[in-house]
Amino acid sequence: MIKNKLKDLTNFLTGFIIILILMIFSYFSFIKIDLTEDKRFTLHESTIELMETLDDVVEFKIYLENEHLPADLTRVRNSILETLEELSDISDGYVEYEFIDLYNTIEDPKTREQSILNLKRRQGLEIVPIPFRKENGELDRVYVPLGAEAFYKGRSIPVPFIRQAKGNKTNTYEKAIEELEFEITNAIRKLKQDSMKTIAFLQGHGELGRFDVEDFSKSLYEYYQTGPAYIKNKEGKEQLNALNGIDLLIIAKPVQPFTQKEQYIIDQFIMNGGKVLMMLEGAQGAELDSMQTQGIVFAAPLETGLDAMLHKYGVRLNKHIVEDLQCSKIPIQTTASGSGGRFQLYSWIYNPVLKSKNNHIINKNLDPVKVEFCSSFDTTSIEDIKFTTLYQTSGNNRYKKLPSRISFRETANEKIISDNFKKGSKPVALLLEGEFGSYFKNRIAPEFTANKKIKFKDVSGKNKMIVIADGDIGKNWFSQRQEMIPLGTDQYSNVFYDNKKFLVNCANYLLGDEELISVRSKKIKMRLLDSKMVKEKKGFITILNTALPIGIILLISFVFIIFRKVRFSK
């Protein structure tokens, strides 16, 4: 008996120890298998490529470390550790990392507070307070930065792991874990860019100002140097070298004409390989805010001189206003003005919502963009240029000829009959690639072109530009409290459009940074039910999913019981 007991207990203990060892061992050596179709838990191909191009050590100092971290933040921290471990592996050790608990490394509370504050103010990292109870029972809190700093060849940048600590905490942390890879590789990419490319917003012709493109330029600022560019100096004289050193020139909604010299400078900028992103209006005077004060506007064709240049490069900017059935809504006052009239949302055919053609890396997987009083393009048959339509009108269109009058009342009162919108679709955003011929070829005196000092070029090398027939596509609005509304937000319906992603993709593509686009587009596919089918088949599906499984079980049990009865009665 005693012998038996001893044997059983030894068996049990052996089993227990084996389990314990297995358990501990599993934490030292583990693999992960990603079953999802979008491979959302696997490193992106471009990440692996990036790791192979590293030629010096990138060091991460992660501040998300403290003995009082709650469990959900610990999960974020461990995911950071795992991602960095994996990156370190595939980069042959070129990725190094260190977790730093500021409460251990800096003894003096004042200096510590200062360095935490610096991380927030200078580096823009979110700080979370974490309450804990001291040994004597007193409540205290520590402040932990939700981010890291990355160092490479003597330069450093902040790496935010959690962008906002607001809203649902669990969701934010889950999202942070999913976006870790992007944040880390993004930091490495930014550090690797030896010379920052320069993007300039052209000024001086009534273009969108600094605040109008604040959101757009802020997203460009992550990768490029951005700033304004003026062709004329303070005395109003054009400077031939004004655009030197600029890689991408953005011309956003100019409303005043360009002088010949200015045209020449822009033309030669393009001939010499400069990239241009133009957002042009075909009409002047058509603005929603002036409509809201006057109720009516007169739109006239707009001639800036850039349109003439574009014609030479291969596209014609149509002098009309697009009316599209696929449009966003705006509030229109329906009762008499005065004592706080009532507003109602109306489909506003002058604010088309353009769907992505999904045919190019620039617009792959992008949601629609919204435009206001846009125009459209026609392409001319120039052999050396390849045209790619990125966004176009829906195909249920009318094109309003200019000059013309646009009023709220007419539009709101008009019964929209889709039969009236018969005109086909036209491109609104176009990518042009190829060798552009100079606008000034055969236009200026030969003595001038022959002058060696001036270095006139009459044809560009391989170059590309993007033209968009709307200026407001890059404009962010401000709320009544003067807070910036993110670019692409429809302030009336709170729908988000992809204006910002599209424009940033344009800039990335023009500057040859396609890999930035592909990383950003690692988007988890939205898997949705077909809402129309759900509506139609709701009852049927509900009954099917209730009755069929239960029916099957009842049938099996019934057959089983009958079968037993028959067998027993024998």
């Binding site: 008996m1 038996n4 007991k5 059983d8 207990l9 068996n11 049990f12 089993g15 227990f16 389990i19 297995l22 358990m23 599993s26 934490y27 583990f30 693999i31 992960k32 298998i33 990603d34 079953l35 999802t36 179709e37 979008d38 959302r40 838990f41 003995e67 009082h68 971290l69 709650p70 469990a71 610990t74 999960r75 461990n78 974490i130 804990f132 109870r133 898997r527 949705l528 039910l529 077909d530 809402s531 089918m533 759900v534 088949k537 709701k538 599906i541 509900t542 099917l544 999913n545 209730t546 069929l548 499984p549 239960i550 079980i553 009842l554 099996i556 049990s557 089983f560 019981i561 037993r564």
Partner: protein, 243 residues
Amino acid sequence: MIAILKKEIRYFFSSLIGPIVLVLFLLTNSLFLWAYAPNEYMNILSSGFASLEPLFALAPWMYLILIPAMTMRAFSEEKANGTIELLLTRPLTEFQIILGKFLAYLILLILTLIPTFIYYYSIEFLSHGNIDQGATIGSYLGLLLLGASFISIGLFASVITKSQIISLLISLLFCLLFYFGFSLIANVGNDTSISYIIQQFGIEEHYYSISRGLIDTRDLTYYFCLIGLFILLTKVTLVSRKW
């Protein structure tokens, strides 16, 4: 061993315990996931997402109640009736007896899951095939492992007592503790430094990533170890009768 397995399964159906458990499970599922919509995200049709995630969020809670109810009689009844002695005189090791019972309950568990494939095909139909198949397979695997862990806990609870009610209560308590008790303790505790380690003991922590389609060998090992541990405990309790 096969004989025990067969005997157990026969018992489920003839005693109507099996059909009742199955119907209860399926009926509750279809109510929450398809018919009744108290919470937009629980109901598949009103959530609008082509995903079986609501099922994998709901099912652990159902198993938490149903599996202890199923397993409570596994050994307690035999002990109360004295048939356990009969069982043990058979030319079988204790381990084979336990395994036979474990597999029988596992088959019943699989039987509860098979009819939910209809849900999968409904979603596939409603979304034109836009459901993530790989992730769903992972989720089913996770649910199966979770259920199997509950079964092993239930067997242990059943072997330590003659009373079925006590067995039910003990296994409920243990399942609750292992399912989410540990994460609860981890989040309540003031000393957050060890909270992460405590959380690692819980099933929920290991269920989370597998139910989204990421199979991590650490999670798999956890489940196998948990199941192994309780089967070991069951065995040692069963043989301790001879001491």
